[in-house]
């Protein structure tokens, strides 16, 4: 029973961190209509930034969080217009071209990281690393709690931005219908660049947290890309509300399979779940949109 509770809690805490970048992933799909293969690349880059901030600058891993947002947000802001141009180009299949572009970006990020840093697994150390808290029979690693709290703060901030500001309103309107939003005076091109920047920044922040909980190497990016796809399909592409539920579910499934079966089976279990859900409900569990 203790192990069960322990596993459930671990899964929910991890799911919370996964939720932050999958929300942003969904938002990007809603606005740019691009499934971003590079999502795992941004996660890993965030993790490496966390590592270098601790290893080279001697700072706490948490200090890398705002830095990741600024640095990779800016990078995303520069890449955003390229993606927008490809997606809205007059080529025969712009949606496939955009997918190919993000796949290329992902390959580039992964290859670049392998070349630059090699296949070394790195950890992000924080002042909470190794600390844990006993709540009754359950032992909670503090880093996971902190990561989940950060994740909740980031997600909360994003929701406040989307639902309480004019620009957030414009983003939601654009995600619904970019042609009508443009008629209202929204500069779709600039908005797309901003959203991609926001997404890349948030995803890299989640990467710092992931690096602190697990560890990073250039190969784990694919795993996070698959996570994002799982959440997107389960929640319904573009659904932000569904992403939170689906990410928590993902975290719990992964935790249980790793604990009771073996971690090498976790992806199998995750995609078996996806398969079953799609058989039963082809539109995802919460087809609600933004």
């Amino acid at each position: 029973m203790d192990l069960f509770l322990q596993t459930l809690l671990n899964g929910l805490l991890i799911g919370g961190v996964i939720a932050t970048f999958t929300i942003a992933f969904q938002l990007t799909f809603g606005v740019l209509h691009v499934i971003d293969f590079a999502v795992g690349g941004w996660v890993v880059l965030g993790g490496y930034l966390g590592y270098y901030v601790t290893a080279l600058l001697g700072l706490d891993g948490f200090a890398a969080i705002p830095l990741a947002f600024v640095l990779f947000g800016a990078l995303g802001y520069l890449i955003g217009p390229v993606l927008y141009n490809v997606r809205n180009s007059r080529t025969a299949r712009p949606e496939l071209m955009a997918l190919a572009l993000t796949f290329g970006l992902f390959t580039l990020l992964r290859g670049g990281m392998l070349t630059a840093w090699g296949f070394n697994t790195r950890n992000v150390t924080t002042f909470l690393s190794g600390e844990s808290l006993a709540v009754g029979p359950v032992i909670v690693p503090l880093i996971r709690v902190a990561a989940a709290v950060f994740a909740a703060a980031i997600a909360g901030g994003l929701f406040l931005f989307l639902y309480r500001t004019r620009y957030g309103l414009a983003i939601r309107a654009t995600a619904e219908n970019c042609h009508n939003a443009a008629l209202m005076g929204v500069n779709i091109r600039r908005l797309s660049a901003n959203v991609y920047g926001l997404y890349a920044g948030i995803t890299a922040m989640a990467g710092v947290l992931m690096g602190a909980i697990y560890s990073v190497n250039p190969e784990v990016g694919l795993r996070y890309t698959l996570f994002a796809f799982f959440v997107a399909v389960l929640a319904g592409l573009g659904s932000v509300g569904g992403a939170v539920a689906a990410a928590l579910m993902l975290g719990v499934i992964e935790a249980f399979v790793s604990t009771y079966v073996g971690s090498s089976y976790s992806l199998l279990a995750i995609f078996a779940t996806l398969f079953v859900v799609l058989l039963v409900s082809p539109k995802g569990i919460l087809r609600r949109g933004l």
């Binding site: 042609h179 009508n180 008629l183 005076g185 933004l290």
Partner: protein, 237 residues
Amino acid sequence: MSTLAADTIVTGYGKQEIVHGVSLAAEAGKITCIFGPNGCGKSTLLKAIAGALPVWGGAARLDDTVLSNLPVHEVVRQGLVLMPQGGGVFPRLTVMENLRMGGYAIADKRLVEARIEALIEQYPSLARRRRTLAGALSGGEQAMLSLARALVSEPRFILLDEPSAGLSPAMVLETLERITTLTRQGIGILMVEQNIREAMPIADRLYILAAGEKRFEGSPADVRDDRQIMDIYMGGA
């Protein structure tokens, strides 16, 4: 007196030319209607004037400003709003959020809120349902929301793409009556309509398009005198 003019506009989709050089003019405070059979390029022309579709030749002008050089999101800032077919409300945004989007081009947030408050009083069905998602409104209410949203930016011209499409007969009358009221505030209306019977009486000037070309222009009285035009394009109405 403002004039919205289209000067030999050529446009289309992809490589397909649909509108082959049409000129027209709409004046402030007047209702200008574009009639014509399905697929003749009415909506395409309207979109091109509003900047939602690139112009291949010719240009649209609002007084001395050439609209056709501007990106679509700048056109609304020149005082011209396009209401796309079906109204173009955002179904997953609330009534208030839709109205706020109507004022997106205005930097002063307080001014937008004040205008919305003033406007919403004239639309009682909306005033009661501020927090309702637009998608949950009836077709008629969505049409009202779309019209109210267009007014938030206080445009000089409103371009309407078949405002009566899909509405009940009673709602068609209410919509057209509200449109007529707007002209008394000096707003110019340029609209595409299929519902000729209802739209003819309120039109000040009309154009007939067929196969991407202008076939007729004049006042409703001129049309009624022209047996041939009446028979071919107006179904003898």
